[in-house]
Amino acid sequence: MTDLRITTPVPTVGSNVQTIDDGLHGAAGLTASNVACWFGTKKVLEGVSLDMAPGQVTALIGPSGCGKSTFLRTLNRMHELVPGATLGGEILINGVDIYRGAIPVTDVRRRIGMVFQKPNPFPAMTVAENVVSGLKLSGLKVTKSEREDLIESCLTKAGLWNEVKNRLGDPGRALSGGQQQRLCIARSLAVSPQVLLMDEPCSALDPTSTRRIEQTISEISESVTIVIVTHNMQQAQRVSDRCAFFLAAENEPGRIIEEGPTKDIFTNPRDSRTEDYVNGRFG
């Protein structure tokens, strides 16, 4: 199984990548097989199997309440933080089980980063501190010059550097919503994740900010696998390589109805429900 590991070049996050990573870097593949989720006794997700290939952008689409966000949160073990939440099935990163394997949960979350629907920069920290907060949080040490390189390179990748390079000492909360979200992306990139999960990252943002973030997604997708939940069909078409359509029938757990190359899902879906959804006939 370990031969699934991809040996793409080290992402250019400054020269310090070697020191802050454990030798596992570059976009990684995620494989979910037969994942099921419960909140208490309520089953919200069933039989979800999905391959998220390294270096690709996978979009999860579907109406509200179909379990796509829940599924996303199982991918970096955020699901289990909800009291009463349980799951079944298996999720592998480069072939290694993230739930039963030897990888500590903090490492799982560092290697599989997450950007949330609502921008959540740390208000007590400056812009610069926010970017490198992940290092401190996970106990990684860098020298001062590495830190500065990392701040610049991550903010550049997130398309924010030019706007904030003179405001690095400002509180993170002083930025606009779109800037805050890009700051959160920069913060996630600073710990060199192999996968980045994005839970409707643009739903709280204006069209301009949305476009900037979509740009960022296509720029970073070579070095990090991206899984994005979106309600915006155009966005899914613009940014993703593959698409998975989730649907939950009434009082049934959510399932993947159809999954495949984005182009096929939108132009030539196999299932009529997919066709109805991507054409805006429900949801």
Binding site: M78, M114, F116, F122, P123, S138, P171, R173, R187
Partner: protein
């Protein structure tokens, strides 16, 4: 444009519309009146207490003048000098000893409850701590006097023997360092008071820590943060106001604690640095001890001492609540 039309022409049309608003606001007004009255009772009572203390204490203050602040002896009944120069520092040092112990324990307990404890234990612990807050201080005093003090003075001796170079821990060598010099000290009283303060501090801190924004918590977790990392970078910065506010509420309680302190200390009117040595005092204990045996001037002097305590406690609590309120709104997390 619209406003001129309204003012000039629609005067009569407006009136019928006003009627239901008046009817509704009658209920509202009644409720508002009741609420305002209840609210202002607090101020009235405060003012009455303050005014009463001032009224009754003013005679003694006239006699002593500034000596009330500079004099450490307390002999108003025999026409002698009296002042709070010893009693007040003792009061404050008992409270500080109590806070020094209570604050770290409270922060740790509150963090354990909000961040680490499993949910069942969390509820149980919260209930137990609230119960501790309800135990009468007399019980703490008795337990402290008969159970804790004999055991605690061993620690006092250890501190004096090993950390005696620090002024607070130094004891008068004339008595030697036999265990006999250690009971009834500021330290023992402070420890007992700390036990009473811990539930209050913990309650406030737990409340505030629990309000740390889930979004920020998850953000920290998703970066691979350890539990401690989340506490340090999210919970503590957010809860800073709660820590300060909780501590100051505790301080207010500690300053005014009466019966337990009265039971523990042996009254002293000579201010000293040592917190371990026998002999301490507090304004509240002074009033409790002297009240029944005082003459008119003596009582007036006690009232004046009470006024001093009242003012200090009021200041501490006001500062505390303003800090706590600010942290609740989350503004303490800005910057």
């Amino acid at each position: 444009m619209t406003s001129t039309t309204r003012e000039n022409a629609v005067n009569h049309v407006d009136e019928p519309r006003v009627t239901p608003v008046v009817r509704r606001s009658k209920v509202d007004r009644a409720y508002r009146a009741i609420a305002t009255m209840s609210g202002s009772i607090v101020f009235v009572v405060m003012a009455l207490i303050g005014g009463f203390l001032l009224y009754r204490g003013i005679d003694a203050l006239r006699i002593s003048g500034w000596g009330f602040i500079t004099e450490s002896q307390w002999a108003p009944d025999m026409g002698g000098a009296f002042g709070i120069a010893a009693v007040l520092p003792y009061t404050v040092s008992i409270a500080l000893v109590a806070l020094f112990l209570a604050v770290p324990i409270s922060v740790a307990t509150a963090l354990f409850i909000t961040e680490y404890a499993p949910r069942r234990l969390r509820r149980f612990l919260t209930a137990t701590i609230d119960l501790l807050a309800a135990v009468p201080s007399l019980i703490y005093g008795l337990w402290g006097l008969f159970y804790l003090q004999p055991r605690l003075i061993t620690l006092s001796k250890w501190l004096a023997d090993n950390l005696g170079f620090i002024p607070f821990f130094k004891v008068n060598e004339d008595f030697g360092t036999s265990l006999g010099v250690f009971p009834s000290s500021t330290f023992v009283a402070g420890v007992i008071v700390s036990l009473m303060v811990i539930p209050i501090c913990t309650s406030v801190m737990r409340e505030v820590f629990g309000q740390a924004p889930p979004g920020e918590r998850e953000g920290a977790m998703a970066l691979g943060g350890t539990r401690w990392g989340v506490v340090r970078d999210v919970v503590l910065p957010f809860g800073r106001g709660g820590i300060i506010g909780g501590s100051m509420l505790g301080l207010g309680r500690a300053l005014g604690e009466t019966i337990a302190v009265t039971l523990i200390i042996s009254p002293s009117f000579d201010a000293k640095w040592s917190i371990l040595e026998q002999g301490s005092n507090s304004i509240a204990a002074l009033i409790a001890l002297k009240f029944s045996e005082s003459t008119e001037t003596g009582i007036s002097a006690l009232m004046a001492a009470g006024l001093a305590l009242f003012v200090i406690t009021l200041l501490v609590n006001t500062a505390a609540s303003s800090v706590v309120n600010r942290s609740r709104s989350g503004s303490a997390t800005e910057i």
